[in-house]
């Protein structure tokens, strides 16, 4: 509150006292004084006091003690005072639920007020008070307001349904508000329609499977009509909702597109982006030879360009989205390169995004201009921006072959500037250029070597060392250069150490006579003095290779390397498709699926683009790789993935260890591995999104796994996909899933407790449906009839999906088996333990209660197989605190059998690797409420006496982990 008092002193307090004075009260007895003022008889004084209370609330003071006094001011006909009291109520009602009830009467009365503004105010505020007792009273007024004659009240009531649903979903359903809300879509007032659409969309999101937003051509037509008439915000709600619709044929898509395109001229950028989203999505369903398709493509470019004249924050959002759009449909903006040129005064976040898009749009036609710009940028002030610009020059060289020479000479110019970070960045990209065009630009090596001393960043040092090693035969003093690096070997980062090792081995193979000493030195440094497992392992491979068969070593280490390809940072196609469906939203800004940053079940539905059904066209279209969701993702760097994959499988342990099923490819793998694999392992680092291949052993260690391999798998991000994929395919083919495990029935309700009714049962998941298998036994003397069952709220919203089917009366001593299908859309409440289920069974005699626990594997859904890349990203993203470690003992299973068994219970193996005699399985599970549970399982394969498995489980909701572990154990042991 310091500022407030200062302000008061500084200001001329002469003429007019204004509201800022309320911010100034800081005295000790403040609360007491306020209390007195609130209870004053004078209206003005009361109002002043409430204002002071609100000001204190704003700055974070706790004024909840004044609750009764403030609420007392509520019954007033002064609307301003009323609004202030409401504001207070919304803040504190939750902490004082008992007293909040005092306010109910006023609310209910206000909902009947003749003034529509007051009716709306009451219903709007009531919905914000999250107190159970109050929500009960809210139902009747809300029902009336939803049918109010005044549209202002109706539009407010529509949003209120969403509020109530957030507090108590079941109540909303029971009261039939959802149907009333659906009716409002046909309301005559466009704003009511828009708010109803917004509310329904939000509710539908938390019920992914419900058919709540039952969009059909009729409703779509209504929405499109309202679209022309409602406010800018309403248009956004409607467009965002439209984007979820699935047109039945291309004619319908076209007609929707035609009615949406006028929105592209709206002054509100969000309307424009949402319209772009609808068009991008529905375009997918249009035949490509249609004239309209071409027209539509042309119409999209100008509004996208116009977005760049908006305020910088919006430009940023627009640019992040354009980045996606150019990846999906490069043709739209291919002629618009100039608008992405960076302006001197652009904020840095706009500059960096523009640069990214420039590179994506670079082509032979515009490369000269682009290069001139990039060179200009490389002289700017912001270090990040300059680095990115330099890197961009290298990427242009790789992307547009004709420009390579110009790029190289530009880079050389930049090296001449001697600006430290420019030089280092230039060397890193020149290395990449060498890898794309080998034996073409070696003339520049001399210039590079001149700058050896100024390199202080590991990446640049590693790049330089790679160049020296690769072209050792042409550099006279290569041995001296490398030796100079070797002096401080232990102070170098792992990246540099690994590269130095490889480079010296290369040098040795090229000039064996002079460098024997050097190679021995580096091998001993790597294998004996280093405690980095990556380095050690690589050292041993070389050592063994060199000592057993130097000729083979030469073939392996100096083998011809695959060329790197141009686009190394494209977003993975399935993710790109999902992001296209989220244009304009945060997901498109972060370039992450909503599930990666939204908690709970909301937003975890994966959206997908749907291509034109039943047409072979997608295969002929120019953007084949990106169109159909079913197509295999193109390998980003074609070779590296496989190499890494093989590397991980290479078994370095004694020959007793087995590498299941990969034998034939292993030989090949080893060759490749040493020829190009390790080099590209280093060199590709700049190309992979994830960065650190092998660079962070600590991470591997922290996860409690074999450190040599783990960081590679995690850090490799998209590139390692191919390798892991191969593995998975191999293990996947071994056998059919064995089906989920069903525990034997146990007695849940003994006859003694239930007047002769005995219930035993178990749970099973069959064909994606959870079933509760019950045996009802009548141990009483009389016939039982009229069975019914109900569940209490539970952690995962389990609820009977149908009535308990006991059709015939149950005679004494008779047993009947029933299967009760369950749904997971019931009300949710966290139970202790988590998988506890409280059940009530009724028959003609009485109602009986019991509780049972269901194996949590019941709520593992069938589509719980995570994308490999998503898995890697998610695993990294979940904090290590959430990781739980478990051991499973006495298991006599190999990894394939375990994987099969687990799959039967919807625990899916994403990838498998073998490291040092251990099989590592990477597993994912998805719960019905959308929570993902990831696991890594380590199984000893080499030694039959080891029957222990180690399991580490990571989940955003760590409380689930022990139960998931129980399921693993249960499934594996049975």
């Amino acid at each position: 509150m310091e500022w407030a008092s200062q302000l008061c002193e500084n200001r001329g307090l002469g003429s007019k006292m204004t509201d800022s004075k309320y911010f100034t009260t800081t005295k000790k007895g403040e609360i007491f004084e306020l209390k007195a003022e609130l209870n004053s008889d004078k209206k003005e004084k009361k109002k002043e006091a409430v204002k002071k209370v609100i000001a204190s609330m704003t700055v974070g003071k706790d004024v909840s003690a004044l609750f009764p006094d403030v609420v007392n001011c509520m019954q007033t006909d002064n609307l301003e005072l009323k609004k202030l009291v409401y504001l207070y109520l919304m803040n504190y009602a939750k902490s004082q639920p008992d007293m909040a009830i005092m306010a109910v009467n006023t609310f209910v009365k206000d909902c009947e007020d003749p003034n529509p503004l007051i009716r709306a105010l009451a219903v709007r505020t009531m919905g914000c008070i999250r107190v159970d007792k109050i929500t009960e009273y809210l139902c009747e007024p809300l029902r009336k307001c939803l049918k109010d004659e005044d549209p202002y009240v109706r539009k407010t009531a529509a949003v209120c349904v969403a509020k109530l649903h957030d507090i108590n979903a079941q109540l909303v359903e029971d009261q039939g508000f959802l149907d009333t809300l659906k009716d409002l879509i046909s309301d005559s007032n466009p704003m009511v329609v828009a708010n109803a659409v917004a509310a329904l969309s939000e509710i539908a999101e938390s019920h992914p499977n419900s058919n709540l937003l039952d969009l059909n051509p009729q409703t779509i037509n209504k929405l499109l009509t309202a679209l022309n008439e409602c406010t800018e915000w309403g248009q956004i709600f409607i467009l965002d909702c439209l984007a979820n619709y699935m047109p039945r044929d291309d004619r319908e898509s076209q007609s929707i597109c035609e009615r949406v395109t006028p929105r592209l001229s709206h002054a509100n950028s969000a309307v424009v982006l949402s319209a772009v989203k609808v068009l991008m999505k529905f375009m997918e369903m249009l035949p490509k030879d249609l004239d309209y398709y071409g027209t539509l493509l042309k119409k999209l470019a100008p509004p996208l360009v116009t977005l760049l004249s908006a305020e910088p924050e919006l430009q940023y959002v627009a640019l992040r989205n354009i980045n996606l759009i150019v990846q999906k449909r490069p043709e739209i903006l291919k002629h618009e390169m100039k608008v992405f040129f960076v302006k001197y005064n652009d904020p840095i976040y706009v500059k960096l995004e523009k640069l990214d898009i420039m590179i994506r749009l670079a082509s032979q036609a515009n490369i000269a201009q682009v290069l001139a710009e990039l060179k200009e940028y490389a002289t700017e002030v912001d270090v990040d921006f300059v680095r990115k610009a330099v890197r961009a020059i290298g990427r242009c060289a790789i992307k547009v072959e004709q420009s390579a020479e110009r790029c190289v000479s530009t880079l050389l110019d930049l090296i001449q500037t001697k600006v430290n970070y420019v030089v280092q960045e230039a060397i890193v990209v020149i290395k990449d250029i060498f890898r794309k065009y080998p034996n073409k630009y070696e003339s520049v090596i001399a210039t590079l070597c001149e700058n050896l001393d100024s390199l202080d960043e590991p990446e640049a040092r590693a790049a330089m060392i790679w160049i020296v090693g690769e072209y050792a035969e042409r550099i006279d003093n290569a041995d001296e250069l490398l030796e100079s690096f070797l002096e401080g070997f232990h102070d170098e980062s792992t990246q540099v150490q690994l590269q130095l090792l490889t480079a010296i081995v290369k040098l040795f193979l090229k000039k064996p006579t002079e460098t024997q000493e050097l190679v021995q030195q580096v091998l001993s440094l790597a294998t004996q003095d280093s405690d980095n497992p990556d380095l050690r392992d690589r050292g041993y491979i070389y050592w063994r290779l060199l000592s057993t068969d130097p000729v083979a070593a030469k073939e392996v280490v100096l083998a011809e390397k695959p060329l790197i390809s141009e686009e190394t940072d494209l977003i993975e196609p399935t993710l790109l498709e999902e992001l296209i469906c989220h244009i304009g939203t945060l997901a498109s800004v972060y370039h992450k699926p909503p599930s990666a940053f939204v908690e709970g079940s909301r937003g975890v539905q994966h959206k997908k683009l749907t291509a034109r059904a039943g047409s072979g066209e997608s295969a002929e279209s120019p953007d084949v790789g990106l169109s159909g969701p079913s197509e295999a993702p193109p390998a980003v760097i074609p070779s590296q993935g496989d190499l890494l994959g093989d590397l991980l499988n290479l078994d370095l342990a004694p020959p007793t260890a087995t590498v299941p099923s990969v034998q034939p490819s292993m030989q090949m793998g080893a060759m490749d591995l040493l020829g190009g694999g390790l080099d590209s392992l280093m060199g590709d680092e700049s190309d992979t999104l994830g960065g650190d291949i092998g660079g962070s052993p600590s991470m591997g260690g922290g996860l409690g796994v074999a450190p040599a391999a783990m960081p590679a798998a995690l850090g490799g991000a998209p590139a390692v996909g191919g390798g892991l994929g191969d593995l998975f395919d191999l293990s996947g083919g071994v056998g059919m899933p064995t089906g989920s495990y069903v525990a034997p029935k146990t007695v849940w309700l003994p006859a003694m407790k239930a007047k002769g009714l005995e219930i035993s049962g178990t749970f099973a998941r069959r064909g994606g449906i959870i079933q509760m298998d019950l045996s009802l036994t009548n141990k009483a003397m009389s016939v039982m009839t009229d069975f019914a069952i109900q569940f209490n709220r539970n952690s995962f919203g389990l609820a009977p999906a149908g009535p308990l089917q006991v059709l015939t009366p149950l005679s004494p001593n008779q047993t009947i088996d029933v299967s009760l299908p369950l749904s997971t859309s019931g009300p949710v409440m966290k139970m202790e333990p988590l998988n506890n289920l409280q059940v009530a069974v009724k028959n003609n005699i009485d109602v009986f209660y019991f509780s049972c626990q269901y194996p949590i594997s019941m709520i593992f859904v069938e589509d719980g197989k995570m994308e490999r890349q998503v898995f890697l990203a998610t695993w990294k993203d979940i904090p290590n605190d959430n990781e739980a470690l478990f051991q499973i003992k006495d298991i006599h299973l190999n990894s394939d059998a375990a994987s099969n068994k687990l799959q039967g219970s919807n625990i899916f193996t994403i990838a498998k690797r073998t490291v040092e005699g251990q099989d590592m399985l990477y597993l994912s599970v998805k719960l019905t409420n959308g929570i993902w549970v990831l696991a890594e399982m380590r199984i000893q394969t080499g030694n039959p006496n080891y029957t222990e498995m180690e399991l580490s489980i990571k989940c955003r909701a760590p409380e689930v982990s022990p139960f998931v572990f129980q399921c693993y154990e249960l499934v594996l042991k049975n």
Binding site: D19, T58, G60, P262, V305
Partner: protein
């Protein structure tokens, strides 16, 4: 949707905090302060994710507005809303400053309650809002039933931006065509990029609910008419027409009609508003040409010569001309000679600022400067920022001409001829840079 909205002063103290969603706690207020406002380095993104909570922020002078959410909201909408919020506040109490916000905090809370419901933006047109939320407290206690329902129907209605029953004795309208011309030129005089972003701002003082139609020399419209043979001199008008790359309209314009017929028809808000924005890139009249010449004489001296040429009708006058020539950071002294206007070296801005009050078309002027440099051992080269220019000219550099603005109000007894109309063209420099 938006979970909460906070306003901070430059120190990071909260002036306004309104939470709309249960998933946003009070700690969010502090998280933003600590991680963004008090962060040491420059803001690297207008969207920040802190502990799975996303913060969107904009700054107005030294006031921070932040919207927070935990959901996958429409990001473009959130920013548009924040801008709108600033507009609404400015329309109520002028400049967005700490003092004004504190003085009007009750009003701001009231507005926030009205224009954002459960995080969903609602009608935020100041015209409509002012009918029932005022700085003198709320109207509405003593309104008649008709007045009340008029308010609600306007707030929710199809024409939310205008109220019924407006009356003026004199029906008058002002049209301003305001253009900013942007240029990036290479030292050799090659246009790297150039575009005009223009706005048509209208001030309308018209009675009733007038139906308006706006026409300009849009190439597509003119060509269409030319084909139909409706214009007398198709050759002439064809030449004068301009190609508009893209345009956006105020929400009063019927977009579907523009899409199908390319006609701009609307019922205008009362008072001042922006009717449309547009962008052109073809056949732009560049009012000035800047010819730089920079010569490095040894390591401690720079010689700069800059010539500007005006390129428009000699009868027109450009005003407020300012040329800004950047100087290196290690400048120790500058000698300037200019033919016209005044030039000064401003050490604090690292630039020579050359000002000319007026300059007619087809003229030329020149400045030359000698810059003394302190010797440095800084290896980094001077970045040579571009030479920038400011000016104002009384024509539209895009070539846009207003052809007509017709007003129809069938219910009241005034016709298009009775309306007094004013049109004005102003071309200003946007980012007008020449690299040197």
């Amino acid at each position: 949707m938006i979970g909460g909205l906070f306003i901070y002063n430059h120190k990071g103290e909260v002036l306004i905090s309104r939470v709309y969603r249960d998933d946003i706690g009070r700690n969010a207020v502090d998280a933003f302060r600590v991680n963004v406002i008090h962060a040491r380095q420059q803001v690297r993104s207008p969207v920040t994710n802190i502990a799975r909570t996303s913060f969107f922020h904009v700054k107005r002078s030294n006031i921070w507005l932040a919207a927070v959410t935990k959901q996958n909201v429409n990001a473009a909408m959130v920013f548009e809303f924040l801008y709108k919020m600033c507009d609404v506040m400015a329309a109520y109490f002028g400049k967005i400053s700490e003092e004004n916000i504190k003085n009007n905090f009750v009003l701001i809370y009231e507005l926030l309650d009205e224009i954002l419901d459960f995080g969903y933006p609602q009608n935020s047109e100041t015209g409509a809002l002012k009918t029932f939320i005022t700085q003198q407290g709320i109207k509405g206690q003593h309104q008649t039933k008709e007045e009340q329902s008029q308010i609600t129907s306007q707030v929710t209605g199809q024409i939310g931006w205008r109220r019924e029953g407006i009356k003026y004795r004199r029906n008058e309208l002002f049209l301003d065509v305001l253009e900013s011309v942007n240029l990036l030129m290479s030292p050799q005089g090659q246009v790297l990029s150039a575009h005009v972003s223009g706005r048509v701002v209208m001030k309308s003082y018209l009675s009733g609910m007038p139906e308006c139609k706006f026409g300009m020399n849009d190439k597509i419209v003119i060509d269409k008419q030319g084909k139909g043979g409706t214009t007398d001199d198709p050759g002439k008008s064809g030449k004068q027409s301009i190609a508009i790359d893209d345009c956006t309209f105020h929400q009063c314009v019927r977009l579907s009609k523009f899409d199908s017929e390319r006609s701009i028809s609307f019922i205008p808000p009362d008072g001042e508003y922006e009717l449309m924005r547009y962008r052109t890139t073809k056949d732009i009249i560049l009012p000035f040409r800047v010819i730089p010449l920079v010569r490095e004489v040894g390591r401690t001296k720079l010689e700069v010569k800059v010539v500007i040429k005006s390129n428009f009708k000699p009868s027109l006058l450009a005003q407020k001309i300012e040329v800004r020539i950047p100087t290196p950071l290690n400048t120790s002294g500058v000698q300037v000679i200019c033919m016209k206007g005044k030039a000064k070296y401003k050490a604090s801005e690292n630039a020579i600022v050359w000002k000319i009050k007026r300059m007619a078309g087809m003229k030329e002027s020149q400045i030359s400067a000698e810059i003394e440099l302190l010797p440095t051992n800084d290896k980094k080269k001077w970045a040579r920022p571009p030479i920038s220019m400011n000016f104002e000219v009384p024509f539209a550099p895009s070539g846009l001409k207003v052809r007509y603005l017709k007003v129809f109000e069938s219910k009241l007894n005034y016709s298009d001829h009775d309306v007094i109309k004013w049109v004005r063209y102003i071309g200003r420099s946007g980012i007008y840079e020449t690299r040197c």
